[in-house]
């Protein structure tokens, strides 16, 4: 005999209660499921957008450091004007390209990355020639600027890594069954990751 809170349940009553709640559950379940999936996708997309904003902030931070660095180097190595100008040109070109989080297409991202890569290369050259100026290297202001630049490069790498992680989480959600059905209905699309930097696959050459 089944009892509930001390009362005896007749078979018909049990059946009715069970059947009723079962149908109710069946009716509600898809809605629960959809809203849950939808909310999760929205949340993850927001995270990706936010991480993308972080990446751009760090690149901007580097761009802000460049004029100061160039001016300091100029004081010691005025005749390296070609290298200095290359840095400034690459910087101004890169700062013109901004990509909004909602139109992060693979092409746009590649363009953005290429422009920033040029800045990295020009900066690398500039820092390489500073090796020839002992006075400059001994300058404390330059040393601190260089540390700021290094820190910013580190931050860029870290924010890119975190962005890629967020995109990966989001992409997995979008593509996994049955989420992919809802993603298709609500228009969630796969997002693009940063590719490894061109030239990063080659180990740096060391000369003695």
């Amino acid at each position: 005999m089944k009892t509930l809170f001390g009362k005896v349940l007749t078979p018909s009553l049990t059946g009715r209660v069970r059947g009723g709640s079962f149908i109710l559950l069946l009716g509600i379940l898809p809605f629960l499921f959809t809203s849950c999936t939808y909310n999760k996708l929205v949340e993850q997309e927001e995270t990706v957008d936010q991480k993308w904003a972080d990446v751009q902030t760090q690149y901007q931070r580097r761009a802000d450091l460049i004029p100061n660095l160039v001016n300091t180097v100029k004081g010691y190595a005025a005749h390296e004007s070609e290298t200095l100008e290359a840095v400034i040109a690459a910087r101004s070109k890169a700062t013109q390209i901004t990509v909004n989080a909602d139109d992060l297409t693979p092409e746009k991202l590649a363009e953005y990355q290429a422009a920033q890569g040029e800045v990295s290369q020009a900066l690398g050259k500039l820092l390489a020639i500073t090796e020839n100026y002992p006075d400059l290297k001994a300058n404390e202001q330059f040393s601190e600027l260089q540390a700021q630049l290094e820190g910013t490069e580190n931050r860029i790498a870290e924010s890119r890594r975190i962005y890629n992680e967020a995109v990966q989480t989001y992409n997995v959600s979008v593509r996994r069954f049955p989420n992919n059905i809802w993603a298709m209905i609500f228009g969630f699309e796969k997002k693009t990751m940063f590719a490894a930097e061109a030239g990063a696959e080659k180990a740096p050459e060391v000369q003695f």
Partner: protein, 305 residues
């Protein structure tokens, strides 16, 4: 002759080579004892220096909530102190989650490299340029002379000065949380144990008050008598219960071993042992520390000497 010398040199070098540390095998004494911020597995720093550093870093955590790991080792895997610090930060989440005020200072004497890594929340007070300045002015001169103690002491002294000058860093939240957490867990265990005992007693009484005749919980004990059998070592309780509802009477007999001290002692023993187990984590009169899950964005400065 030259070959022989080289061979001898190689032999000595092999013997003298200390362990190379990876992020996974670098000891973090803080986890066992929250007053120990310094990881000095190769005994490169003197004990006096370690004690001073622990004291200062402890103050920095209680007053400003800056949680530090300072490691001085012979060699690290990969030789890149920045990457090592980032991996360390990622693994342990040093610093509180709200403030992100973690700080990692690493010196690898064999790799001749060092890094000060600041958590996201510390980048304002300890920007990269300031970290570099501390390294250039305080750390480097001592490093060049091989005075590891002074290099670390001067660095931490300088960092403390910068951190002290920042009123926005609120202290102690993490530190006190930990202690509170410890007590909360202890208290919860105690409450749970007390609750269990009360429940057991209540259940027992309810069982005794059940009237088999009218199915109501109205039995009351009206008399009780104890007989003792010293030969068997058994004390027998004879309790008489009567139902206040239908006046049904029943007698309950239960035995108790004279030596056992009864049910109370058994429960007390269980309680005591469970509490003792709960307290097993505290070593040497001090709590093991825990890291708050702070994150690092790559701020700080590195260098070689």
């Amino acid at each position: 002759m030259r070959k022989l010398l080289l061979y001898i040199f190689l032999c000595i070098a092999t013997v003298a080579t200390a362990a190379t540390y990876s992020v996974d095998n670098l000891p973090i004494p803080y986890l066992q004892d929250k007053t120990q911020y310094v990881s000095n597995p190769d005994d490169i720093l003197s004990q006096t220096a370690v004690d001073s550093l622990n004291l200062w870093l402890g103050q920095m955590e209680t007053e400003h909530g800056v949680q530090t790991v300072l490691a001085v080792v012979e060699r690290i895997e990969g030789g890149d102190t920045y990457e090592f610090c980032m991996a360390l930060g990622r693994k342990y989440g040093i610093g509180s989650k709200e403030q992100n005020t973690g700080l990692i200072i690493l010196l690898s004497t064999g790799d001749r490299a060092y890094t000060i890594l600041t958590g996201r929340g510390l980048e304002g007070k300890l920007p990269d340029a300031i970290c570099k300045r501390i390294e250039n002015r305080q750390m480097l001169p001592a490093l060049r002379e091989g005075d590891w103690d002074e290099a670390m002491l001067a660095t931490v002294r300088a960092i403390t000065k910068y951190v002290d000058g920042d009123p926005s860093l609120v202290g102690g939240s993490d530190f006190e949380h930990n202690v509170e957490d410890g007590f909360t867990t202890f208290g919860m265990l105690l409450l749970l144990a007390i609750g269990l005992i009360i429940f057991a007693v209540w259940k027992d009484r309810r069982k005794k008050s059940y009237c088999p005749s009218c199915h109501q919980y109205k039995m009351k004990r009206i008399s009780s008598r104890v007989t003792t059998n010293r030969i068997l070592g058994i004390r027998t309780h004879h309790d008489t219960y009567r139902c206040t509802h239908c006046h049904f009477t029943k007698e309950l007999h239960w035995d108790e071993h004279i030596n056992s001290g009864g049910m109370g002692a058994a429960a007390g023993g269980a309680l005591g042992s469970s509490l003792f187990r709960g307290g097993g984590g505290f070593r040497g009169g001090s709590f093991g520390g825990h890291f708050g899950g702070g994150s690092f964005g790559g701020g700080g400065a590195s260098g070689r000497f």
